[in-house]
Symmetry: C2
Subunit: 337 residues, 2 copies
């Protein structure tokens, strides 16, 4: 993969600090869930009862265990990196361990951390940093197969579904690679491009770089962003669709919203609207594009309504409809071939 | 208009230097054509036979004439700003005149120019610089009317058509404002946002800022960018469409291309495809969106085929089809009301 993508070095030490809330430690938990083989351990402050179920380590122990990156696996509750955190991160940087952050504050804004990294040669990696040197999208056909997640809104399970699909394909001995387009996805995948930080002229080019030519039977499973029907983020979604030139896509959906999350002026589109517009736009770079199914986050529906909802949606769309956590992704995988 | 847009101060001195090619002086010529009332004069080096038809002025004379900005109205033939140019620009900056450039090289990369500007308080204005502090698009309905140029490709006459339409409306005493989204357009309008330099997440938000609430019978005539059917630039075009929430749009087209300019892998879409997809996507932020006609650059067709081409296209699309230079825009203006 090109230098325009972010690349993390494994194995990792996941930094939790004093944060003991599962909500604020989703990134760390996601890495352990999806990439346990890359995680050497966790670093918690004394008294923190939250555990990701991996060995506790000090920075010194991590060095001995060959750790290459310390990843901030939590969001600071006040939004700010505390002095106690910086001490640990500086110690790691001083010993040559890369420091990886998805926080808004750039790591370069902490002089002590910069000095420590400069001395040892450790990298400070901000996974929100826009890639530079990206090309304009060409629309040229690439080899290999691509499966893109699209959505009726933001935060409807695109990352989770992509990770679950990549894993399900690999378990069937299908060559498959998860391609990350957002910060948490990048931390899980260990590489990727934070596509929403790319200048608009280069979004489809970024997506082309993200899923390069590959073996004919290899599947890139690409994390989606936003929605082509979103008044704020559709530009990102369309560039990603064009550059990904997907052979297949999955619509991700959350059935209880009436308006888009945080956008009270924007009505939720239907799954069918999302299918139709994705096909119409996606044909530009892949005339064979097709929808292979729908992935629904049913967790906000009453328990008794979840399976009936999926069944009704399957009837309406004539497509397999799953909730990856409730039913697994098998029906979607089968419809790929 | 908000601080997130570029704003130029008039009157202008147009800098031509030694450039005597009409092709490389299009920006200067465009400003004189569309905004003659803002142009105090031109500055040419001795022996340059090219003239924009406005008074010749030295920097000293420009100061006396009250000039507020010197605008680089030419592209340097070698792509580089020559020392001879810098001398003039520095003299202007030293005397408090803003320096305005649409070149790739940022004005801040010339220390002498920066020092001169800092001393006098003159601004160095790069019209390619991305705006900062832009919001994410909300999709909320704004007051006033909006007319957007869209295209089947880049470089098909969107800027020219928008300027011609704004002028035609003003001549009918309709309140109308040209809204610039590209560098040349910004230099002509004196303000605007270079929309293709905006980070993808903020493109529709930028378009919302560019055409704010206005009087109910006021028309913003918005310069388009790229094409919603372009494999490289569709993200820009879709964000601009959503944020502009146009009541009406005009499709701009060049009829002799078989593939998109510079993109041999990308077939040219038809005008009808462009109309259909623009309506389908544009409905998201303005359900009443409609196409009011087609603006064709017929100059590459044989002369005898030009009017017949427009007539045939009008029959196919059931819409007024004009070439603004050949036929004027009157038919499009009439279809707006």
């Amino acid at each position: 993969m090109s230098l325009t993508t972010i690349q993390l070095k494994a194995p990792y030490l996941i930094f939790l600090g004093e944060v003991d809330s599962p909500v604020y430690s989703k990134t760390g938990a996601g890495i352990v869930q999806w990439r346990p083989e890359l995680v050497a351990g966790q670093l918690r402050f004394a008294g923190n009862q939250l555990s990701l179920g991996v060995p506790d380590m000090t920075v010194q122990q991590a060095v001995k265990a060959g750790v290459k990156s310390i990843i901030i696996g939590v969001a600071p509750v006040g939004g700010k990196i505390e002095d106690e955190w910086l001490k640990v991160l500086e110690e790691a940087a001083k010993l040559g361990i890369d420091v990886v952050s998805g926080l808004h504050h750039r790591l370069e804004s902490f002089p002590g951390l910069v000095a420590a990294a400069n001395k040892s040669g450790a990298q400070l990696v901000n996974v929100r940093t826009p890639a530079s040197g990206l090309p304009v999208g060409s629309g040229k056909k690439r080899s290999g197969k691509r499966l893109l997640m699209v959505g009726t809104d933001c935060a409807v399970g695109k990352k989770y579904t992509a990770l679950a699909m990549a894993q399900a394909l690999q378990e069937k001995n299908v060559q498959a690679t998860f391609r990350a387009t957002g910060q948490t996805g990048i931390m899980i995948a260990g590489s990727g491009i934070p596509i929403d930080t790319v200048v608009a002229d280069f979004v489809s080019g970024a997506a082309e770089v993200l899923s390069p030519d590959n073996a004919d039977d290899h599947w890139d499973v690409i994390e989606g962003q936003g929605s082509i029907l979103h008044p704020g983020y559709a530009a990102v979604s369309l560039g990603l669709l064009h550059g990904s030139q997907p052979d297949a896509f999955i619509v991700c959906h959350e059935p209880t919203r009436t308006t888009m999350e945080g956008f009270p002026a924007a009505a939720m589109p239907t799954v069918q609207q999302c299918i139709d517009l994705t096909i119409q736009c996606g044909k530009l770079t892949n005339p064979a594009i097709r929808c292979v199914g729908v992935s629904v986050n049913t967790s906000r529906l009453p328990e008794k309504d979840r399976i009936p909802y999926l069944e009704q949606l399957a009837q309406e769309t004539q497509l397999p409809c799953v909730d990856p956590i409730l039913t697994g992704c098998e029906a979607l995988v089968q419809n790929l071939f």
